[in-house]
C-alpha cells in the first residue's frame, strides 16, 4: 500500500510541473498587462515600469516562471487586484462553498443513479429500462446552466417553493460557527437547526442542476455492471443455491459495480469542481467558480492563474484518491 502510494506520488510530480507550466502560460497569454492593472489606471508609465520590474515581468519568460515557482513553493499565489486579498486566502474562503455543493451533487447523483441502474438492469428491456435510458440521454443533452435557470424559474419565480438563488443561506442569515466551513455540516454538529434547514433548502436546486448530468454515466455503468454480474456464473450458482431477490443483488451486484462507480464518481467530481462556474453564477453561490468568473471579467491575472492551477491539482488529487480506494477495493489494481 505504502509503496503504491509512493509510486503514484512520484508519477504525479512531472504532471504537476506540467500543470503549473500550462497555468502559467495561460495566464501570461491573457490580454491585459498585470503591472498596469495593479498600478491603477492613473499611474504614470514610470510607475507601471517599476511595478513590472518588482513583479519580474521585465524578465524573460523562463525567468518569470522560475519566480512564479518560487512563490508557489512558499504557498504564494500572488494577490488579487480585484479583492485586494492574497489569492490563497480568497480561495480558502470560497473553497468550502464549492466543495459542499459538489459533495451534495454527487450524493444526489449516486442516490438516483445506483438504484435506477440496478433496477434497469434487473428489468432489462422493460419500461423502466427504457425510461432510464431516455433520462440518461437527456441528462447528457441538456446544458446544466440552462437546466439551472429553468429550475429557478419554476421553483422560485413561479411556484415560490425554493428559496431565492442568493447563495448558501437566506439574506441576513448568519453563517454557522464551525470548523469546516461546510454550512450544513457545521450547523448540524452544533445543533443550529434553523441554519441547518436554511442551508439545506439552499443547496437543493444547485445540487440537482450540477448532479443531473452526472446521473447518466453512473447509471449506465451500474446497469452494465449489474448485467454482467447477473449473467455471471456465480449468480447462476447463487440462484441454484436458492438465493433470491435483494440479498443476492445487493451482495454481488453492488460489490462488483463498486470499482467502476468509484472511478466514475471521481472523474465526475473532478469535473464538477471546474464545471461549477456557471451553476455558481446562476445561484450566486460564493464558491471558487464564481470567483473565477468574476476574476475573468476583470482580467485578474493572479486569481485566474490560481483557479486554473487549483482546478487541475484538485482533479489530479481526486484521481489519486480514486486509485488508492480502487486498490483497496480491488486487489488486481495493485498488481498492475
Amino acid at each position: 500500500m505504502g509503496s503504491f502510494l509512493l509510486r503514484r506520488l512520484v508519477a504525479l510530480i512531472p504532471i504537476l510541473i506540467g500543470v503549473t507550466m500550462v497555468a502559467f502560460l495561460v495566464s501570461r497569454g491573457l490580454p491585459g498587462d498585470p503591472a498596469r492593472l495593479i498600478a491603477g489606471m492613473q499611474a504614470s508609465g514610470g510607475e507601471v515600469e517599476a511595478i513590472r520590474a518588482s513583479l519580474g515581468l521585465d524578465k524573460p519568460l523562463y525567468h518569470q516562471y522560475w519566480i512564479y515557482m518560487q512563490g508557489l513553493a512558499q504557498g504564494d499565489l500572488g494577490e488579487s487586484i480585484r479583492t485586494g486579498f492574497s489569492v490563497v486566502e480568497d480561495i480558502q474562503n470560497r473553497l468550502p462553498a464549492t466543495v459542499e455543493m459538489v459533495i451534495f451533487a454527487i450524493i444526489f447523483a449516486l442516490a438516483v443513479a445506483l438504484p435506477l441502474g440496478v433496477w434497469a438492469a434487473v428489468r432489462k428491456g422493460k419500461l423502466i429500462d427504457k425510461f432510464c435510458r431516455i433520462i440518461s440521454t437527456m441528462g447528457v443533452a441538456i446544458p446544466d446552466f440552462w437546466a439551472a435557470l429553468i429550475l429557478v424559474m419554476i421553483f422560485f419565480v413561479f411556484l415560490g417553493w425554493a428559496p431565492p438563488p442568493v447563495g448558501r443561506l437566506d439574506l441576513g442569515a448568519v453563517a454557522p460557527d464551525g470548523p469546516t466551513g461546510f454550512y450544513i455540516f457545521d450547523s448540524l454538529v452544533s445543533g443550529q437547526w434553523a441554519t441547518f434547514r436554511n442551508a439545506v433548502a439552499h443547496v437543493i436546486l444547485p445540487m440537482v442542476s450540477l448532479g443531473f448530468p452526472a446521473i447518466a454515466p453512473i447509471m449506465r455503468l451500474t446497469r452494465n455492471a449489474t448485467l454482467s454480474v447477473l449473467n455471471s456464473d456465480y449468480i447462476a450458482f447463487g440462484r441454484a443455491a436458492g438465493l433470491r431477490g435483494a440479498p443476492l443483488y445487493l451482495k454481488y451486484v453492488l460489490r462488483n459495480s463498486l470499482p467502476g462507480a468509484i472511478t466514475m464518481t471521481g472523474l465526475i467530481s473532478g469535473y464538477m469542481i471546474g464545471g461549477a462556474v456557471l451553476i455558481e453564477r446562476v445561484f450566486s453561490w460564493p464558491g471558487v467558480g464564481l470567483y473565477a468568473y468574476n476574476s475573468l471579467e476583470r482580467t485578474d491575472h493572479a486569481a485566474i492563474q490560481g483557479i486554473v492551477l487549483l482546478s487541475a491539482i484538485t482533479y489530479l488529487l481526486v484521481f489519486l484518491v480514486v486509485d488508492l480506494v480502487q486498490s483497496m477495493v480491488d486487489p488486481r489494481v495493485r498488481l498492475k
Binding site: 512531472p14 504532471i15 506540467g18 500543470v19 507550466m21 500550462v22 495561460v26 495566464s27 497569454g29 491573457l30 490580454p31 428491456g125 440521454t137 437527456m138 447528457v140 443533452a141 441538456i142 446544458p143 446552466f145 440552462w146 435557470l149 429553468i150 429557478v152 424559474m153 419565480v157 413561479f158 454515466p217 449506465r220 455503468l221 452494465n224 473532478g270 469535473y271 469542481i273 471546474g274 464545471g275 462556474v277 456557471l278 453564477r281 473565477a292 468568473y293 475573468l296 482580467t299 485566474i304 483557479i307 486554473v308 482546478s311 487541475a312 491539482i313 482533479y315 489530479l316
Partner: protein
Amino acid sequence: MTAGSALRKWDRRLLLGVIMFGMMVGVALFAPWIARNDPLAIDFGTQFLPPSAEHWFGTGKLGFDIFARVVYAARYDLVIAISAVAFSIVVGGPVGLIVGYLGGRVDSLTMRGLDIIQAFPAFILAVGVLSALGEGVFNLILVVGFVGVPTFVRLVRAEVRSLREHSYVEAGRAVGNSRRQIILRYIAPGTVGTVVTQAAISCGWAILLTAALGFIGLGVPLPEPEWGAMISEGVEEMVIGGRWWISVFPGMAIAVTIFSLSLIGESIADLVEPTRRKSR
C-alpha cells in the same frame, strides 16, 4: 430476445437520431427559407412579443425574431461543433495512430502530456485559451477542437494497441510492408468505427461547450445568433418578466441536437461492439 430483434431496435434509435440530427442540419442549410425573418433585423416596434403566428418563438429585446435567430444559430453551433470535432480528429487521430503503434518513450511522453491537459477542466481551459486568443468563430473552433484532442488520441491509441497484435497485422508485417503501410492499410481502417462513434458524442460535447462559452459572453461576435449567447440574453427577462421564450427555445434547440447526436453515437456503438465498454 434474439440478436436480430435487438439489432432492429438499435436501428430504430439510430434512425430516430439520424432523422432528428438531419432535421437540424437541414434547418441550418436552409435557414434563409425556414427562418421567415431576418435574424438581425432590429425592430423597436416589436419588442418582447410572446410567441404568436407572426413570431413563432416570440421576439427579444431589440425586436429580434427568436425563431429566425434559433434557426440561424444552428448554422453557427453546428459548424463550430462539427469543425471542432474534425479538428480534434485530424490532430488527435494521427497522433494516436503513431504513438499507439510505436509505443515506448514517445508513447509515454505523449500520454503524460495528455494527462497534463486533461487535468484542467475543459470549460476552464477553454475560457482561458479563448480569452487569450480573442473571440471569433475561427478561434472558437480551434479552442473547442483543442480541448477535444486528447479524447481522440487516447481512443485511437487504445484501439491501435489492440489491433497491433492481431494476426492480420502480423501477416502484413510478415509480407514486408513498411511501418507506414501497416499503419495506414491495416490499422487505421480498424479504428474508424470507434472514431465515428466518439465523433457523434464529441459533437454533442462541443455544442455544450460552445453554448457554455456563449453564455458567459465568449465566442461568436455580436450580434450573430448562437444558442448559448441567446440563453444568456433572456435570463433577466425570464426571471423577472416571465418572458420565458427568449431563453427556453434556444435551450431546447441545444437539447434536441445533442439528444439526436447521443442517439446516433450510442446506437452505432452498440452496433459496432455490442458488449462495448463505455469509452470514457
